[in-house]
């Protein structure tokens, strides 16, 4: 009987790469690179009848030639060859096989569907778990397993249940730029055996995972069981779900992508929310939510203190927060008094939002000081700071002020319990801009934010939507515990 334990794919003591190769144009080479460059410490057996060694390791012509038993097999060969591979796996004590190859049931072809049926039957007979087919497999930085280049190596607390390989890779790359770090991300494809229910159940009990993100095209296994599991998970940790094929147009494509049916659109969102999860509409929203939930503490109310924008941008910021139902309280009198006592010339003018454009060099009022005061004050539930993009200065003053402001925000966050986020514009720049002092400075400070694990969002709208979900989630959890 196949084990429900998924440790074989997250913590394998040994693994074989079937179809391993040193030919740079092949998946076999990519995967050998991945398993040897993220720090995996277990035994690696490259399997390739045409090579006796690669990547400094002894290679074997087939699984049976490997002297020891093997925990986990990454199979890069065509699906047609998988049944034969499985019978070899059975003799080597293999607990699970990741089938990367596609062109299975998602083609809709009868013979491919039959082949998948044969594969799952063989796996069940042998007691071997299967991941895929048609998927990129496991990313577990703690163990040193990955399926792409330049994934963030530092382990973190975000778990991923992703039905698409491409979306997984994007999640890792784009998420990493925002400071997301991952516990385990599984690209699970056609879900012939291991499906989203197995993975959610795993993350329910995985203490290293504090937030779960998921991309689902079609549910495999029992849909009502999925909702039940989802309820259990959301009671312990936030779950963010992106549905592929929400629209009728998109739904048609899910069959040819992962051989799964998208199901009816309207009830999906309702069902997922009812189970306590957060539905999102695209990858950017998923990442925004993951940043909020993994990098902000629970926020208990909607009173925001804003600092860092100039005059016009402040007004837009207020509109954006107010649009999402947040309150922008007046700056408490004690803060004005405090800055007056420190000799500020504009103590009577400042307010909330704290306007960055009215600062006078040397005055007690600065973005650093005002953020620090706001972060200490009970009038605000959280602080939204802003790294205004284009203050009208030349290089030196720009670099100095932006750097000081960002460092001031980081300091206020470190020294207070008050939740604090940054709004940091994203721009896709050309090579000339990338080399300019303006964008170089912004890029450096952005990296500083990532290194300091400060949550930041590309726009106020996105920050506001994410904080709304954060507040609602923790409120609901608190209500549940009182029920």
């Amino acid at each position: 009987m196949a084990s429900n334990n998924l440790d074989f794919m997250f913590y394998p003591k040994s693994l074989a790469v079937v179809g391993a190769s040193s030919n740079p144009a092949s998946f076999g080479c990519d995967f050998m690179t991945h398993v040897t460059s993220y720090g995996y410490k277990g035994k690696i057996y490259p399997i390739n009848p045409k090579q006796s060694e690669m990547f400094g390791l002894k290679a074997y012509p087939d699984l049976l030639s490997v002297p020891e038993n093997i925990d986990y097999v990454i199979s890069l060969i065509g699906v047609n060859n998988v049944p034969a591979l499985l019978s070899q796996c059975a003799k080597k004590g293999v607990k699970g096989v990741h089938i990367l190859a596609g062109r299975g049931a998602e083609t809709g072809r009868a013979d491919a569907i039959q082949l998948e049926a044969d594969i799952i039957k063989a796996a069940r007979d042998y007691g071997i778990r299967l991941l895929g087919p048609n998927c990129l497999g496991v990313f577990c930085p703690e163990t040193g397993l990955a399926f792409g280049y330049d994934f963030p190596r530092e382990p973190g607390c975000v778990g991923g249940v992703i039905q698409s390989g491409g979306n997984s890779t994007d999640l890792m790359h784009i998420g990493a730029l925002r400071g997301l770090r991952f516990s385990k991300v599984v690209s699970y494809g056609n879900a012939l055996d291991i499906n989203q229910n197995d993975l959610f159940e795993y993350f329910l009990n995985d203490s290293k995972t504090k937030v779960v993100v998921s991309y689902i095209e079609g549910l495999k296994g029992d849909s009502r069981e999925f909702l039940k599991l989802l309820r259990q998970v959301t009671a312990k940790k936030p779950v963010i779900i992106l549905k592929g094929g929400r629209t009728n147009a998109g739904a048609k494509l899910t069959v040819s992508h992962t051989a799964s049916l998208a199901g009816s659109g309207k009830i999906w969102d309702i069902a997922v929310r009812q189970a306590g999860a957060i539905p999102v509409r695209n990858l950017d929203e998923m990442i925004n939510m993951a940043v909020a939930f993994s990098m902000l503490p629970p926020i208990k109310g909607k009173r925001v203190g804003i600092a860092g924008c100039g005059g016009g941008r402040s007004i837009l910021s207020v509109d954006a927060w107010a649009d999402e139902g947040f309150d922008i309280p007046a700056l408490p009198e004690e803060i004005r008094q405090e800055l007056k006592n420190r000799g500020s010339q504009i103590w009577d003018w400042i307010g909330n939002p704290a306007d960055a454009s009215i600062t006078i060099p040397g005055d007690a009022y600065s973005m650093t000081s005002i953020t620090a005061e706001m972060a200490k004050n009970p009038a605000f539930d959280f602080i939204a700071t802003d790294a205004q993009e284009d203050p009208p200065f030349g290089k030196d003053r720009f670099v100095q002020e932006l750097t000081e402001n960002i460092q001031g925000f980081i300091k206020a966050r470190k020294e207070n319990e008050k939740p604090l986020l940054v709004v940091y514009d994203e721009r896709s720049v050309g090579i000339t801009e990338a080399e300019s002092w303006n964008y170089q400075t912004r890029a450096k400070l952005r990296t500083l934010l990532v290194n300091e694990k400060v949550p930041f969002f590309p726009s106020t709208d996105e920050a506001a939507r994410a904080v709304n979900e954060l507040i609602a989630y923790y409120q609901r959890r608190e209500e549940s515990s009182r029920m």
């Binding site: 849909s223 909702l227 199901g263 009816s264 009830i267 069902a271 009812q274 209500e479 549940s480």
Partner: protein, 228 residues
């Protein structure tokens, strides 16, 4: 309950009559009208006296679904003479509307006082199974589609939030002199219905429309159920 369902299936139909549906509703513990089937005008009068005036008479026929259109509904009948005349008029109208209809008789039920009209229903989602719907009655659901859904099984929070999230919620809280309705009672109806369909996979669709909500409870005025 199983008897009612079994009977219908044996007769080769998957639609339960209003009386059968209300019987099931009552068995679940939801307040509804007392219905009896009269097969003569004398019987109709007898049942009316037993139930208490005013009463409502409706044609009992599986072949006539839009009873009002067929002239098959008479409300506010205050005494035996009105009941007697109504009985005859109903049968005449029904025959004219659909000469081929098979008519079992005329149902007699107590007429409840008006309240705030709500709708509670159940359908099957192909993926997630039974789904419960809530909305305010009449134009709110028909034209504005101001309804909420939740997937079975519902808990108290689900029932509470699905009522609260409809746009017309304030109407339940009391509006223009009308007292607020018993929202707890409506929540209980939702929960009981959820429980019922969770345990009974033979039900395909339920339509409780309208339900009159009062400050001290609610009554299901019309009920329709479809079996799998």
């Amino acid at each position: 309950m199983n008897i009612i369902i079994g009977n219908a299936l044996k007769q080769g139909r998957n639609i339960l009559s209003e009386m059968e549906s209300k019987q099931l509703i009552k068995e679940i513990g939801i307040q509804t009208t007392e219905m009896k089937l009269a097969t003569s005008k004398e019987e109709a009068v007898k049942f009316s006296e037993e139930t208490g005036y005013p009463v409502v008479l409706k044609v009992a026929s599986f072949d006539i679904t839009h009873k009002s259109d067929a002239g098959g509904v008479k409300v506010g009948l205050k005494n035996g003479a009105e009941v007697s005349r109504a009985y005859e008029e109903i049968l005449v109208s029904a025959l004219k509307y659909n000469p081929k209809a098979s008519v079992q008789g005329v149902t007699v039920q107590n007429m409840v006082k008006p309240g705030v009209e709500v709708i509670i229903g159940m359908t099957q989602d192909p993926q997630f199974g039974p789904v419960i719907m809530f909305g305010l009655g009449g134009v709110f659901v028909e034209i504005l589609k101001d309804v909420s859904f939740k997937v079975v099984p519902l808990n108290r929070r689900d029932a509470h939030s699905m009522i609260k999230e409809i746009k017309g919620y304030r109407l339940l809280q009391g509006y223009r002199g009308q007292k607020p309705v018993d929202i707890d009672y409506l929540e209980n109806i939702l929960l009981k219905l959820s429980d019922f369909v969770d345990k009974n996979s033979s039900i395909k669709e339920i339509d409780l429309n309208p339900i009159f909500a009062y400050p001290d409870g609610a009554s299901v005025v019309d009920a329709r159920m479809v079996l799998n």
